[in-house]
Symmetry: none
Subunit: 148 residues, 4 copies
């Protein structure tokens, strides 16, 4: 089975932060985790505020820990607030249920890992994640009913 | 780039607490942090209750960690409760999304740090922060659409 | 009973940091707590490293929480390591048993609060604490058998 | 004052992990933090065990929080075990007092940040840190009496 390696993770995280710069968005942090939820590359634009790496990691880790992209997590958090409150306490807040957390799959649909972005609006965060995953020739699963 | 030093931070924190006394508000604590979120001056009126320094620090630290004044954090917390619940757990409560946390900038708009006030209503807390920042010749960014 | 107020606490903490500068010591943080262990003034030289305020607070809080100056805490920590390990876990590390934490008393021997200093060696930290307490006309209790 | 940016931090962290591979050492994680202790680039070799990024971050953060390279922290931890036990509890273990944490300075001696390496022995971890800092044209401060 294919695994995400450091070189690819660094490439994806760098590309996501560069996309934010090129699109004129706020400075971002990006976290790329392997399928087990462990970090391969966590990068922060030197102008991004200092909680962004933790938030980016929490978006990615929540996707992997629950098995859905951030948009699906957001829908569930809205429908089941008490469940997500318990998850928050249980995990120390490492499940952040908003857009900007995206599962990374290969062309065969196998799960390779996830990326989380944080810095601008959730929609803009996700946009940079999708661009970076696409540029690496991999497939993004944002939790959208029509897969991105 | 300009940095906030201890003398200026002590002056701002002292002026904020003095403003509360002069305005007849409840006794307050004030926390002035540098741009990286580390404390320079945390002061508590001897008649303020004992959680006030932690709350003041959390208001200031949240502004710096997320990159917005407290009024913008409050708006976002209302719009995205699940996101802020997760941030609470993730950071051990160090992001306190209410008015009274204010970014401190110089005339050029550069971020120098933040102040948090706690003791009276959020609006009154913020009022003292704005007075103290202005008295130091610096610029307050409270997260208000019309910048203070 | 006499209480420590914000003005006196700020004066003592400022004097301690100024003493370190005048003596050519490393930049310091100072924490002055009231007799109940709650902060009145926590100040950090803008060139002191960022853990110093927490360490200074822990030195002062340990003195108040256990009822001895830092030198006596250090002696006990050496004699009873398992006890202090348990205290560490119990209190989340807020008892830091080294010199540089000093009880503050009035001339009648009443306990008013404590100061903790951190930045240079423990001996130099304590030296600045003693100077600052003396300059405020109060009495330092460092835990030395011959009271300072 | 010069700041470490994301591009330089990524270059240093990548070079450190590559050095470990080229020297036939165990796979490593590298954490490069800015002078305030906030992460710019945390990278993990895909074959390194999963606690390595946290340990690498703790080595770097401890150096910055206390103001010394890892070798000096290690000497102090040996001389003052009760102090470092308390620091451990106080900071949730984010001060890891061993070689492999190295301050990063410019030619003028200004503090720009720190790197932590984890994966092999502390000596080998530090060796990779020194190689990577040197390759970036910056100056390593490992806490050695004869500065590296």
């Amino acid at each position: 089975m294919q695994r995400l390696d450091l070189a690819t993770a660094t490439q994806i995280a760098s590309a996501a932060i560069r996309a934010a710069r090129e699109l004129g968005l706020k400075p971002m942090a990006a976290a790329v985790l392997d399928a087990a939820g462990h970090p391969l590359a966590v990068l922060r634009d030197e102008n991004a505020s200092f909680l962004r790496p933790q938030i980016a990691t929490g978006k990615a880790r929540g996707c992997l820990g629950m098995g859905f992209g951030g948009r699906e997590l957001a829908r569930r958090a809205q429908a089941m607030p008490a469940f997500f409150d318990a998850i928050n306490s249980l995990t120390g807040g490492e499940v952040i249920p908003v857009a900007g957390g995206v599962l990374i799959r290969n062309a065969a649909g196998e799960l390779l890992g996830a990326i989380g972005l944080s810095g601008d609006t959730s929609d803009n965060d996700e946009r940079c994640a999708l661009l970076a995953i696409g540029a690496a020739g991999l497939v993004a699963d944002s939790g959208d009913p029509q897969p991105a």
